[in-house]
C-alpha cells in the first residue's frame, strides 16, 4: 500500500510520511507535534485520543492514518478560531470541569460532535453518549454541566 504523504488537519494541508496502517494518533503526536490528542489505552476504551473526521468523533488510536487521509481532521488545537474558544471549551473553563486535565481534550472533541448532532441533550443523553470517555479524576458531573452550559449558550 502507498504511504500516506499528506493530511488535512485543522483546515490546513500538512505533509506526513507514514504507512497507512499507522494509528492516526501516532502520526498526530509524533510527526506533527499535535500532542493535545492523548494516549490513554490504545484499545478504544478511554476516548482520550478522540478527534473529528469530517465532523464525526473517532478514536485516533483505532483509526489507521490511511483511513483519515483525504478527510477533514480536527484536533483540539484547531477548535479555537482566531483566539476565540469554542463554546464548549469556554464552558469547561466556566464550570472548572477538569482536574489533571488529561481527559479534557478527548472529552471536548467528543462533546463538540455530540452537541452538533444533538443541540438540546438531556443529562441522560449526555451520559449515554459519553460512556466511552474516561476521567479518572472523577470530574464527570462538571463535564455534564459544561455540556449543558455550552448547549444553552449555543441555542440562545
Amino acid at each position: 500500500m502507498q504511504r500516506v504523504r499528506s493530511l488535512t488537519i485543522n483546515g490546513q494541508r500538512v505533509a506526513v510520511d507514514a504507512e497507512p496502517a499507522t494509528p492516526l494518533l501516532t502520526v498526530l503526536r509524533d510527526q506533527l507535534g499535535l500532542t493535545g490528542t492523548k494516549y490513554g489505552c490504545g484499545e478504544g476504551q478511554c476516548g482520550a485520543c478522540t478527534v473529528l473526521l469530517n465532523g464525526f468523533p473517532r478514536r485516533s488510536c483505532q483509526t489507521a492514518v490511511g483511513v483519515a487521509a483525504g478527510k477533514k481532521i480536527t484536533t483540539i488545537e484547531g477548535l479555537a478560531r482566531n483566539g476565540k474558544l469554542h463554546p464548549l471549551q469556554q464552558a469547561f473553563l466556566d464550570e472548572g470541569a477538569l482536574q489533571c486535565g488529561y481527559c479534557t481534550p478527548g472529552m471536548i472533541m467528543t462533546g463538540v460532535a455530540f452537541l452538533r448532532a444533538n443541540p438540546h441533550p438531556s443529562e441522560a443523553d449526555i451520559r449515554r453518549f459519553m460512556q466511552g470517555n474516561l476521567c479518572r479524576c472523577g470530574t464527570y458531573p462538571r463535564i455534564v454541566a459544561a455540556f449543558r452550559r455550552a448547549a444553552a449558550i449555543k441555542s440562545s
Binding site: D30, E43, G101, Y140
Partner: protein
C-alpha cells in the same frame, strides 16, 4: 504548509522547555544569583530555626514591628543552603515562586498561587509558579500525604508576607516616611496621606536584595482572607482546554527516539537467552541489554514496536506455585510478620495501640461481634501512564517525567548511573494525575538507559498494559475485628488486626476504653505502594462496616450509635451535617432501596459520607443513586477546587467500593486493560452533594485524599440496609449482588 497547531496567542509559552537556565540560588554568591535571575528582590524561607540561625551566622534579625524575623545578605556573601521555598520579584513586577511541590490534578498550582497573592497583595496573574524542576526549586520530599496545604501553603504565605513587608520598607525609605503609614495592595505600595504610590516592579528596579526568613510569623488570619477562601479557577486551565499544555508524555526533544521495553512474561522471570540480531539490523534501531533489562529505541513508535517484536528472548519462570487472587487472603495471613510493639509508629501514618484490658472486656461484654474483612489489590490507573523523556549531554542527564517525587527520582537516576545528583536534572510538567501511584521513577530510569546507549534523547511512554502490570498497586489486606458493647450500646472493647493493607487511620476515632490495634506487615505477592488516602480506605471500610453491624446487634440507629460513641466534636459535626442534608431520619428503606453512612478522621480532615443505593433487579446490579459528603479540613482555601476534589474522590472511591479488583495468577496480571478492569464511567456517577464545613479558626489541612474514605462503607451499609446482606469484601459486588 503552515503550522496546524493554531497556537493561541493568549496561551503562555511552554514552561518546560530548557530555554530557562537552571537557577539554583543555593550556595550561590548573592551577586551571581542576581546575574542569573535579573535584578530585583528575593526572599528565601529557611527550613528551620536552628539551621537558619547557623546559616546566617547567628544573627537572624528580629523586626518586632510586624513580627517577621529575617536577615539581609551582604555583598559577596553566599546565600543559604537550607531553603524550603523562595520567591523573586523582578523589575517588571513579575513574581516567580519556586517550590518542590508538583501539580498532579489536585490543583495546588492554583491554591499556592492564591496563598502568595493573598499575602503579597498582588493579582494572581502576576505570579508564576515554578514547580518540581530539581535544578530550579528547593529540595522537597514529594507531593503526597496531603502535606502541601498544611506545609507549603503556610511557607509560601510567610515568604510572600516577608516580601510585602520588604516592599513597604523600601518605599518608606525612598519617601523617608514611617513604614507604619504605608499600605500594600494591588502590587504596589501607597501612602494614603499623600496619595503617591510605587509599583513593586519599580521598587525592585536595580535592586539586588536578598533576605532570608525563618519566621513562625503571624499571618493574615483566615477570617480576613481576601484571595484565599474564595473560589478561583485553575490558573492555567486555558492551556488544558486548548490542548497546549505539555504533559510529560507530550515532551519532544530534537533528534528524539522512541523507546520500548522488553517485558518478562511473568513477575520474577529472568532472561535466559537473547538474540537481538533481527532488531539490530533495522535502520536507526538501537538495542540495549543489561542483565534482565532489554529494550529498543527507534526513530518512530511503529519502528520501535517492530524492533521490539523482532527481539528473540527466552525467559526462565520462577519455580513453584505462585499466589493468585483466589488464595490471596490466606497467603497474606500465612506470611504475616509479628505486629510491632504497642505504640509503634509507622512513619507518620498510624500506630499500634494497646489500652485497658481487651480480653476481660470482651469476655464480659453484653454484645460481642467478630468479623473478618478483605480488601483486594486495585490499580491507580491514572489516565496518563508513566512517561519519560531522557537526554544526556556532556555527562549530564536531564529527564522530564511524571512523578510525585522529582527529587526521589533524581536520586534514583543518580544511583542507577553512578552520577552525583548535581549532574541529574528532573523536570515534572503538570501531569495526568497519579493518586499516589507515581512515587517512583521506573520510566525515567528506563528512558535514560536507552538514551545513554543511543546517544540521543529517548521518549518512553508506558502502554496501558504496562501501567496495569509494572506499576504498583494499592495493598490488599485482611482485617479482623472483635468488638464488645454494653447493654446501652456503648463500645467497651475493640480489637483490630490489619494484615498488609497498612496502618494509615488504623486507630478508631470512637471512644473505647479497652483496645488492641495492630498492624502486621506481610510478604505481598504483588508490588504495592501508596494510594489516595493509603490504607485509610481499607481501615475505614472495615471499621465503619463493623459499626453498622454492631448497631444492628444492639438495635440502635447507626447514626445514633456512632454519635453515642463519639466525643470528637468535629467528627460528630460532619456526621450531623451530612445526615441532615441527606435526610437520614426521613429515609424510606425498601427491599430495593437502602441508605448507609461511613466516616472518620484522617490527615487533619473529618469526613462523613451518606449513600443511597438501589438494586436494579433483586439480586442484580447495585446502583449508587445519591451521595452526600460533609467535609471539614479547617479553613478552606479554595472552595471550588475543594468541591472538585471531594466529588472526584467519591467517584474514584466508588470504583474500589463496587467493582475494582486486580486479578492475577502465575505472576501475571489477568485484567491489565480498561476493557477488563472496570473503572467508574459517566453512567456510574450518582448525584453528589458536598457540604464544606469551613473552620476559619482551624489550620487548613490537605483535602485530596481523606474524602475518599467514606464512600465504600456508606455503600456497603446501604446494601445492608436494603437487603440485610452483610458484605465483608472490597470490592463489594464485582458481579452484582447475588442474593
Amino acid at each position: 504548509m503552515s503550522d496546524p497547531r493554531g497556537r493561541n496567542p493568549v496561551v503562555e509559552v511552554e514552561r518546560y522547555e530548557l530555554d530557562e537556565a537552571p537557577v539554583r540560588p543555593f550556595g550561590l554568591e548573592r551577586r551571581e544569583f542576581f546575574k542569573l535571575m535579573g535584578a530585583g528582590v528575593a526572599i528565601f524561607l529557611l527550613n528551620d530555626m536552628p539551621t537558619a540561625a547557623q546559616e546566617s551566622g547567628g544573627f537572624v534579625r528580629r523586626r518586632p514591628r510586624r513580627g517577621i524575623q529575617g536577615r539581609r545578605f551582604n555583598f559577596g556573601e553566599p546565600l543559604p543552603q537550607n531553603i524550603g521555598a523562595w520567591l523573586h520579584i523582578g523589575e517588571t513586577g513579575k513574581v516567580t515562586v519556586y517550590t518542590g511541590k508538583v501539580e498532579v490534578g489536585q490543583n495546588i498550582r492554583t491554591s499556592l498561587t492564591q496563598a502568595v497573592a493573598e499575602e503579597l497583595r498582588v493579582g494572581m496573574e502576576a505570579i508564576h509558579m515554578v514547580m518540581g524542576d530539581t535544578a530550579r526549586v528547593p529540595f522537597d520530599m514529594g507531593t503526597f500525604g496531603s502535606r502541601t496545604t498544611p506545609t507549603m501553603n503556610l511557607q509560601l504565605r510567610r515568604v510572600a508576607a516577608a516580601a510585602r513587608e520588604l516592599m513597604v520598607e523600601m518605599a518608606a525609605k525612598r519617601w523617608n516616611v514611617s513604614a507604619a503609614r504605608l499600605v500594600a495592595s494591588d502590587g504596589k505600595v501607597s501612602d494614603p496621606s499623600s496619595g503617591r504610590s510605587l509599583e513593586y516592579g519599580e521598587l525592585a528596579r536595580g535592586q539586588e536584595m536578598a533576605q532570608a526568613i525563618v519566621a513562625e510569623d503571624p499571618l493574615r488570619p483566615a477570617t480576613e482572607w481576601t484571595v484565599e477562601g474564595k473560589s478561583v479557577p485553575k490558573v492555567n486551565a486555558l492551556e488544558f482546554v486548548t490542548g497546549q499544555h505539555h504533559f510529560p508524555a507530550d515532551i519532544r526533544r530534537p533528534r528524539m527516539l522512541f523507546g520500548k521495553i522488553l517485558r518478562p512474561p511473568a513477575f520474577g522471570a529472568t532472561l535466559q537467552s537473547f538474540d537481538a540480531s533481527g532488531a539490530a539490523a533495522m535502520p536507526g534501531v538501537v538495542v540495549v541489554r543489561e542483565g534482565d533489562f532489554a529494550g529498543v529505541a527507534a526513530p518512530s513508535e511503529p519502528e520501535a514496536e517492530r524492533a521490539l517484536a523482532a527481539l528473540k528472548a527466552e525467559w526462565k519462570l520462577p519455580s513453584g506455585p505462585q499466589p493468585s487472587n483466589q488464595n490471596l487472603f490466606e497467603y497474606l495471613k500465612a506470611h504475616a510478620e509479628p505486629a510491632g510493639h504497642p505504640g509503634e509508629e509507622f512513619g507518620f501514618f498510624g500506630a499500634n495501640e494497646e489500652r485497658g484490658a481487651v480480653g476481660p472486656a470482651l469476655a464480659s461484654a453484653a454484645h460481642r461481634l467478630e468479623a473478618t474483612y478483605t480488601i483486594a489489590y486495585i490499580a491507580h490507573a491514572p489516565l496518563e501512564p508513566r512517561a519519560a523523556v531522557a537526554e544526556w549531554q556532556d555527562g549530564k542527564l536531564t529527564v522530564w517525567t511524571g512523578t510525585q517525587r522529582p527529587f526521589g527520582v533524581r536520586n534514583q537516576l543518580a544511583e542507577a548511573f553512578h552520577l552525583p545528583e548535581a549532574r541529574v536534572r528532573v523536570l515534572m510538567p503538570d501531569m495526568g494525575s497519579a493518586y499516589g501511584g507515581k512515587h517512583t521513577g521506573e520510566a525515567a530510569v528506563e528512558a535514560a538507559r536507552l538514551a545513554k546507549a543511543a546517544g540521543r534523547p529517548v521518549k518512553l511512554v508506558w502502554t496501558r498494559e504496562e501501567e496495569f502490570t509494572w506499576a504498583y498497586f494499592r495493598p490488599a489486606g485482611v482485617i479482623e475485628i472483635k468488638s464488645g458493647a454494653n447493654a446501652n450500646g456503648l463500645l467497651t472493647a475493640w480489637e483490630f488486626h490489619n494484615y498488609n493493607s497498612g496502618p494509615s487511620a488504623i486507630r478508631t476515632p470512637y471512644e473505647v476504653p479497652n483496645q488492641r490495634i495492630a498492624f502486621y506487615p506481610t510478604r505481598s505477592p504483588l508490588r504495592q505502594g501508596s494510594y489516595r488516602a493509603l490504607a485509610a480506605t481499607a481501615n475505614h471500610f472495615a471499621r465503619e462496616a463493623h459499626m453498622d453491624d454492631v448497631a444492628r446487634q444492639v438495635k440502635m440507629d447507626p447514626l445514633e450509635f456512632r454519635l453515642k460513641n463519639l466525643k470528637d466534636e468535629r467528627l460528630k459535626a460532619v456526621f450531623q451535617a451530612a445526615a441532615e442534608r441527606f435526610g437520614w431520619r426521613e429515609r424510606k428503606t425498601t427491599r430495593h432501596r437502602g441508605f448507609g453512612m461511613g466516616g472518620g478522621f484522617e490527615k487533619g480532615g473529618y469526613v462523613a459520607t451518606f449513600a443511597e443505593i438501589s438494586l436494579e433487579r433483586p439480586g442484580g446490579e447495585v446502583r449508587v443513586r445519591r451521595v452526600v459528603t460533609a467535609f471539614d479540613c479547617g479553613a478552606v482555601v479554595n472552595p471550588d477546587g475543594l468541591r472538585n476534589q471531594i466529588v472526584g474522590a467519591n467517584i474514584m472511591g466508588l470504583g474500589g467500593a463496587l467493582f475494582e479488583a486486580i486479578e492475577f495468577a502465575d505472576g501475571k496480571i489477568l485484567n491489565n486493560r480498561f476493557s477488563r478492569y472496570r473503572v467508574p464511567r459517566f453512567s456510574d456517577v450518582p448525584e453528589i452533594e458536598v457540604i464544606l464545613i469551613d473552620r476559619k479558626d482551624q489550620p487548613s489541612a490537605g483535602a485530596g485524599e481523606t474524602p475518599i474514605v467514606g464512600i465504600a462503607p456508606a455503600i456497603r451499609n446501604a446494601i445492608l440496609d436494603a437487603t440485610g446482606v452483610h458484605l465483608y469484601s472490597l470490592p463489594l459486588v464485582p458481579h452484582g449482588l447475588k442474593a
